[in-house]
């Protein structure tokens, strides 16, 4: 009983703090962005969006069917899609990705609210280094939009958001790299706002499903490649989102991607020698890097510059007994 009461108190307090933080961060931001932030948890709609990313030299376009009820979202895929049958359901606690062919569900931290809040936090933090402008946008999914353009201080575009001024829905988003090339975007092709969404759409019941977490994957990969099983302590506010191995020259590099209050962090480990000065040379903008060595393995932490970054790097080093 006490634990339930405590949990309620913590939840209410977190929500209040979160609301206050949002309010503080939104100060001085364009009204259209404030509208998008304030409506983010209350929109109800169904729609179809195209997600396009230019990753590792290849363009990938994916069609997603979106059903959204406030802070809950369900994503399905067309029958002719390479992802047909898969379902993603996200709520404020977790994101569950159902994979029918593997008969498994992958449980990850939620992602949806992250991008908008990260943009707001970034604008608040780098106010002097970002230019934000608002102008009339194009018609997206049959609705006239306002275009919010985020650029660096020289005017190079970083992100474009096309926001419906009536509902606050972000109908199109586009991200640019350092040379101004679009690296990814999503765009709604149709959208229908609803008064009510069936709650059953956010429940998936399938017996015998195997649950896979990024923690279990990280553990398996570390054992497979004879690397260390490490994690950023959960009390830091960071949650592991994915674990994968990249192999540049045969020697594996284990990459653990985390999301948290100051953005996204990646912890790398490899037996290949690392040059700290070269790592920091490649890091641009507000990206910080740290490297250390422990037990014949080289570690690197990459993420946005912040006090959190240094604290986490120190803690990881200490936990590993690093040199």
């Amino acid at each position: 009983m006490f634990s339930k009461f405590s949990a309620c108190v913590i939840l209410v307090a977190s929500a209040a703090v979160g609301h206050a933080q949002k309010g503080a961060l939104a100060e001085g931001l364009p009204e259209i962005l404030k509208l998008a932030v304030s409506r983010a948890d209350s929109l109800r709609y169904t729609g179809t969006r195209i997600v396009s990313v230019r990753a590792r030299g290849a363009q990938r376009d994916t069609v997603e069917y979106i059903t959204r009820d406030g802070n809950r979202i369900r994503i399905d895929f067309p029958n002719d899609s390479a992802f047909a049958g898969q379902v993603i359901i996200e709520d404020p606690q977790e994101r569950r990705h159902y994979l029918p062919t593997q008969n498994e569900v992958r449980v990850l931290p939620p992602r949806r609210g992250e991008s908008l809040m990260r943009l707001v936090a970034s604008l608040a933090r780098f106010r002097q280094e970002r230019k934000v402008s608002v102008e009339n946008g194009s018609v997206i999914a049959g609705r006239m939009t306002r275009l919010l353009l985020v650029a660096d201080r020289r005017g190079n575009p970083l992100q474009k958001l096309f926001i419906d001024p009536t509902t606050g829905a972000v109908l199109k988003s586009e991200v640019f790299d350092f040379v101004g090339t679009s690296v990814g975007s999503y765009e709604f092709k149709n959208i229908e706002f609803k008064d009510r969404i069936d709650a059953n759409l956010f429940r998936v019941s399938r017996k015998g499903l195997r649950t896979v977490s990024p923690q279990s994957e990280a553990k398996q990969l570390a054992a497979k490649f004879n690397l260390r099983e490490i994690q950023i302590p959960p009390d830091s506010g960071y949650r592991l989102e994915s674990a994968r191995v990249i192999r540049p020259e045969g020697e594996p590099i284990l990459a653990l991607m985390y999301s948290g209050p100051s953005g996204r962090l990646t912890v790398f480990q490899t037996k290949t020698d690392l040059k700290p000065e070269r790592l920091s040379k490649f890091a641009r903008g507000d990206i910080a890097t740290r490297t250390w060595r422990s037990g014949g393995i080289n570690f690197a932490l990459v993420g946005p510059k912040s006090e959190n970054f240094d604290r986490i790097a120190d803690r990881l080093k200490r936990d590993l007994g690093a040199q």
Binding site: G85, R111, V175, S242, R264, F268, K275, F282, I287
Partner: protein, 136 residues
């Protein structure tokens, strides 16, 4: 003493005296002054280039050699580290991996991440369970 007497007798013999007279009769072979002068001039002329050659061999050559060695040492010791802009190093791959993750997360949101697009793409379309309803 006996041997000495015998030697004297042989030296004073008719044959030896004839040879002695013949040698005395040969002209003196003293080199003339003009020839000596020419020889001196030739020696002097030959000696000058030889001196210049020595200077080159013993001073200039080692100096050039030392200079080259020093320059080589400077290049090796103070060689500037060329920035690796090829983007193929482990370090650049790490930064690119992190940056891609950040960029794509801004776009994909709750949808499929780039890794999931690659990893969970179905090789063959999944049978739609609703198709079974057509049988009834």
């Amino acid at each position: 003493m006996k041997d000495q007497n015998q030697l004297d007798e042989k030296l004073n013999s008719e044959g030896m005296r004839a040879i002695s007279e013949m040698v005395k009769g040969l002209p003196d072979d003293i080199p003339s002054m003009s020839w000596r002068s020419q020889l001196n001039e030739r020696i002097l002329a030959e000696a000058k280039p030889k001196k210049a050659f020595d200077l080159h061999r013993w001073l200039l050559r080692p100096a050039i050699g030392l200079g080259l060695a020093a320059a080589l040492a400077l290049v090796v010791v103070f060689r500037p580290i060329a920035p690796d802009t090829t983007g193929s190093s482990v370090e650049s791959l790490m930064i690119a991996t992190h940056q891609d993750d950040v960029n794509y997360a801004s776009v994909t949101g709750a949808g499929l991440s780039v890794d999931e697009m690659t990893e969970f793409s179905n090789p063959t379309p999944v049978a739609d369970p609703l198709l079974d309803l057509d049988v009834f």
